[in-house]
Symmetry: C2
Subunit: 632 residues, 2 copies
């Protein structure tokens, strides 16, 4: 299907918006009136620019507060509309979006509104353009698509149809199923926007918090399917008012936007096969929906790579050794150590592979290896999602792991888990050059439970969609966490199949600054799961690696609000183990290390009775303790 | 009255919060539980720290979801409360805040809730502490102070009373007048928070957008007066959850907070004289309310000072000359030119007085001279409001203008307007050294209409309160403006007496970044009022100073939506004059200059028939044109 985006969804001047939309491959744009009025380009110049960029101009929008007015106002509104129709002819746009009247003075009279809309359509005739009427969620009298359709049907003019906007319908909780009952030829335009579920004034929600499909909480697949089932064959167009997108690099935003439509179209194609997109009142042009290669179900983390220079690298090694890991091999051509505990693998890189030179300073997670039965299909899917492929310098004899860059720059590697290449990348590592390599110890460490990554402020929603689209992860927990330096927003993603618990937690500073948003972002961590956190903690202490000190006040509070046995609580206090529980009876025990070098830390977690969270209730404790630790 | 602040209102660790509260002069703090639990300090250490900082610990808060529960839960809740009572004894806090139960499972049974609150008060007896019950605006069954008071009255225990929180009452639109009917001795605590008027979920509103009294839209003077009239004699305490304050320098925030209480107390003192604070059920301890010197009504701008180096300085001079100003004098000891047109005065400073050295780069507004009949009283008021006094290097013979620093660093000078010192500062200037000085021309320029200043993101609310408190200005217009690089929030302040129209517009980047928030902040401007903008614009063109070019598309849109005569519209188009009107029939004509040097511009405005706004509808046009201009 054709893909469009409203210019208001992107930052910059009109020229910059058009250039960005074209650059990533959109087919068309909606011209937002304010962008046109602010532009020094004449309408014909805008038309020529769009043509040169291979973009169609699909919609002129919005025309406001037309219908349900007194006769004097009507005459002025028709005159206003005619000026815009003439402008549309110059622009070469054939459809105008007319929003339902939202003014206090609008008259509550359906017959009047319908007849005025008919007059508007008649006024459009000489210009050869058409009018798409849309119910704003906050329209004064017309706020639902069913009401808008009633007026359009009553007005009964071929140049008058509907514009459907997913936000205006789904934000109200309206059932979109009745869209199927509207004749497809009367659906003139479709605007798509997702949004996080919020309880707030719908106008503010709409103007600040819309996001691209797959980034929020709406079911846009089902919604769009109803629209296609009704016979709509126009473009899928994104109209997203978002404070961050308005202020971010329009090329990045446009790429993110286009990716969201690729994923949506792919999910629609999945539905299409069952529903056939034939309507009982007639059959419509078949739709070609572009499919993506199926996502490959991730089989957990193949590895996580840390880049760290001294002393952070030594500290990381000490933590891993204390947890039972051994430094088993070294990379044959790079300064990378392989640390293993069973099948859990962590790479310690003495240089930053992203920068291509020796890296001084802190410790950071630079790469995630994702275990996949079909890495080639995953690579194809990634390519189709415009995930930036990473080129690596490597020896020809080394394993050709494919990798792409996540929005924050982290490399995501596709590690084969099936024959014949299972773990083939391990062959790039040979016996360690170091002499102090020790044996793995049999501890209760099971696997990498999750990783936590701070995201650049501008790319938090993009990152969420990236992992969702690339690996088939689903958001499972969204929370706001209070750090001593401000609020942090957190979103966990995991694979819906809980037997294969790949989990990634994305964090972002709510204000896009503070220590959590400095330069390359805030603290990152690797959480390892275990069966017996107490013995792990004792091992750590014995090995001279103290868990992060948790305030006594925390345990006093725990005594006040839980039934944990005093002896267990005392042991937790001694070892810095924190506690959480969920309403279903699941329990969570976890501990942290201090920051290794200002940024990276490890967590050890023990999940009991199906606990699915991440101990968010304890995050303020952790962040404060890390802050206190880094001040001393 | 004693002044307190909740630790949650400030950023940092508990130690940092206490230190900041003490540093600015608060008498006490509320200990927010999460701050205590996260602290490595033992309760006794916190008590000792507070003592050493001369702070009392006035409230332990919050204890949640206690009442309206089943018997099993009650036992657990009592146990939880007893642990906190014991903690309070260690801390030396005598009052605990208990919020109304907000959980889904809370039981809707007033008798049960009241009897359970009584049990809680009985449990508090051995500890010698008391319980202040507060209705959360989103409490499950108890959401109003009247309902909370009903339960407290029914429970009837001397250790059980009420906590009143202005946000929970005013956010719901509840009438606070009935607070007067509550016996003063049952009002255990008063928490104050203001908030901007928003239509959103009250929980989110409360947790993110509270602000200090005088920064939002609530009438806290009347509210607090009711509480004092009822007999409350505890501290005025601020509990403000605010995303920005949580992430800003706690010393700045604490100073801002304390200033808000000074202004509130002063306004209360004004009310006290009429109401006498005697209650019909008895008389209470008299209150000592600290008064401030009355604000001096500002008589407009005495001057505005621009610091600019070449070529911006030359450009500024050219604009002023085109508007009829003349460079009449030079400062006797500094590189400052005085430009005059009638009584309108603008200083052009070749060096940045704030930096104390020659300043390279852009043009910026560095000082506002405010005309005042009693500068000494204004200075005293400023001092009492902790406005930072500025020390100036000056020749002993020069005028001793008092000045303070606004939150963004702009110097605010107090210029005498009355005898014997009226305009005395002009004596610091003598005939110009330059030879190209020209005569003032008689143009229709009237005065400085307003100035516009971008504010540092962290200090937007602070700046609003600063000007309000210092000069008695009132916020008159709040808007959100779309720039090509993101949204901008704008708040205009002016003196309520419209005959003395001192107007200041404060802007801030909604995300705290982008071109508008770089380094020293975004664009600034000086708007000059006139009687005939067309002749002014013609003069500018004749003088070779072109007004900012406004897109033709703007005038086509104006033709579509207004009845302006075509000839006038055409003249506006040629001269770059923009148009706005208000529902009362007021009209606004205005034009801009290009940016002088990346940052500063002038505006010329003509107000017709009582128009009170600032042409916000045209701001996107202006910002886009400035952006286009600075790209070419």
């Amino acid at each position: 299907m054709r893909r469009s985006i409203a210019t208001v969804s992107l930052s910059g001047t009109l020229e910059e918006k058009l250039e960005a939309a074209s650059w990533v491959g959109f087919d068309g744009v909606e011209i937002f009136e304010s962008d046109l009025i602010s532009s020094p380009l004449a309408p014909r110049e805008i038309r020529a620019l769009a043509q040169s960029l291979d973009l169609t101009l699909d919609l002129y929008q919005p025309f406001r507060d037309f219908e349900g007015v007194d006769d004097a106002r009507l005459a002025a509104n028709i005159r206003r509309a005619e000026a815009k129709f003439a402008l549309m002819v110059e622009l070469g746009v054939d459809t105008m979006l007319v929003c339902s009247n939202a003014t206090e003075s609008a008259i509550d009279d359906d017959a009047r509104a319908a007849s005025q809309l008919r007059l508007l359509a008649e006024a459009a005739e000489p210009y050869g353009v058409r009018v798409a009427y849309e119910a704003l969620a906050w329209g004064r009298h017309v706020a639902t698509y069913e009401h808008a359709w009633k007026l359009v049907a009553e007005a009964d003019h071929p140049l008058l149809g509907l514009c459907l906007d997913s936000f205006h319908i789904l934000s109200r909780g309206d059932d979109p199923a009745a869209i199927r009952d509207i004749p497809g030829e009367k659906l003139f335009f479709l605007q798509l926007a997702d949004a996080p579920r919020m309880r707030m004034d719908v106008l503010q929600w709409s103007r600040h918090y819309r996001c691209f499909p797959g980034q929020g909480g709406f079911d846009l697949t089902t919604f769009t399917h109803h629209v296609l089932a009704a016979g709509y064959r126009g473009p899928l167009s994104l109209e997203v008012f978002n404070d961050v997108f308005r202020a971010s690099d329009p090329h990045r935003t446009a790429a993110d936007a286009l990716r969201s439509l690729s994923v949506l179209e792919d999910s629609l194609a999945g539905e299409q096969e069952t529903a056939n997109l034939r309507h009982d009142r007639g059959s419509f042009t078949p739709i070609t929906l572009t499919r993506l290669p199926e996502p490959v179900r991730p089989a957990g983390f193949g590895f996580v790579e840390i880049a760290a220079t001294e002393p952070a690298a030594e500290r990381a090694g000490a933590v891993l050794a204390a947890l039972g890991f051994a430094h088993t091999r070294d990379h044959r051509s790079k300064p990378v150590q392989l640390w293993e505990h069973g099948n859990t693998r962590i790479l310690l890189n003495a240089a930053d592979p992203r920068l291509g030179h020796t890296w001084g300073g802190e410790a950071t997670i630079t790469a995630l290896g994702i275990g996949l039965s079909d890495p080639e299909r995953a690579r194809e899917r990634a390519e189709r999602l415009s995930a930036p492929a990473l080129t690596r310098r490597r020896d020809p004899s080394e394993a050709a792991l494919q990798s792409v860059a996540a929005p924050d720059g982290t490399a995501v590697f596709f590690c084969p888990t099936g024959p014949p290449d299972a773990d083939s990348w391990l062959a790039d590592f040979s016996a360690p050059a170091v002499t102090n390599a020790h044996e793995q110890r049999d501890t209760s460490i099971i696997d990498i439970d999750h990783i936590g990554l701070y995201q650049p402020f501008d790319h938090f929603d993009e990152a969420s969609l990236f992992y969702r689209a690339l690996l088939g992860l689903a958001p499972t927990e969204v929370s706001e966490l209070a750090s001593p330096d401000g609020l942090v927003r957190s979103r966990a993603l995991s694979h819906p199949d809980t037997k294969s618990p790949l989990r990634i937690v994305l964090n972002v500073s709510l204000l896009g600054r503070g220590p959590q948003a400095d330069a390359d972002g805030g603290a990152q961590h690797i959480a390892l799961s275990c069966d017996d956190i107490f013995s792990i903690a004792e091992d750590m202490v014995d090995a001279g690696v103290s868990p992060l000190r948790v305030p006594d006040n925390y345990y006093d509070d725990l005594a006040a609000r839980t039934d944990l046995p005093p002896a267990q609580r005392e042991r937790m206090r001694r070892l810095g183990i924190l506690y959480d529980h969920d309403p279903q009876g699941g329990e969570f025990l976890h501990l942290y290390t201090p920051l290794l070098d200002g940024r990276l830390f490890f967590e050890v977690v023990q999940r009991v009775d199906g606990y699915q969270g991440y101990g968010a209730a304890n995050t303020t404790i952790r962040m404060t303790a890390h802050r206190e630790g880094s001040n001393t």
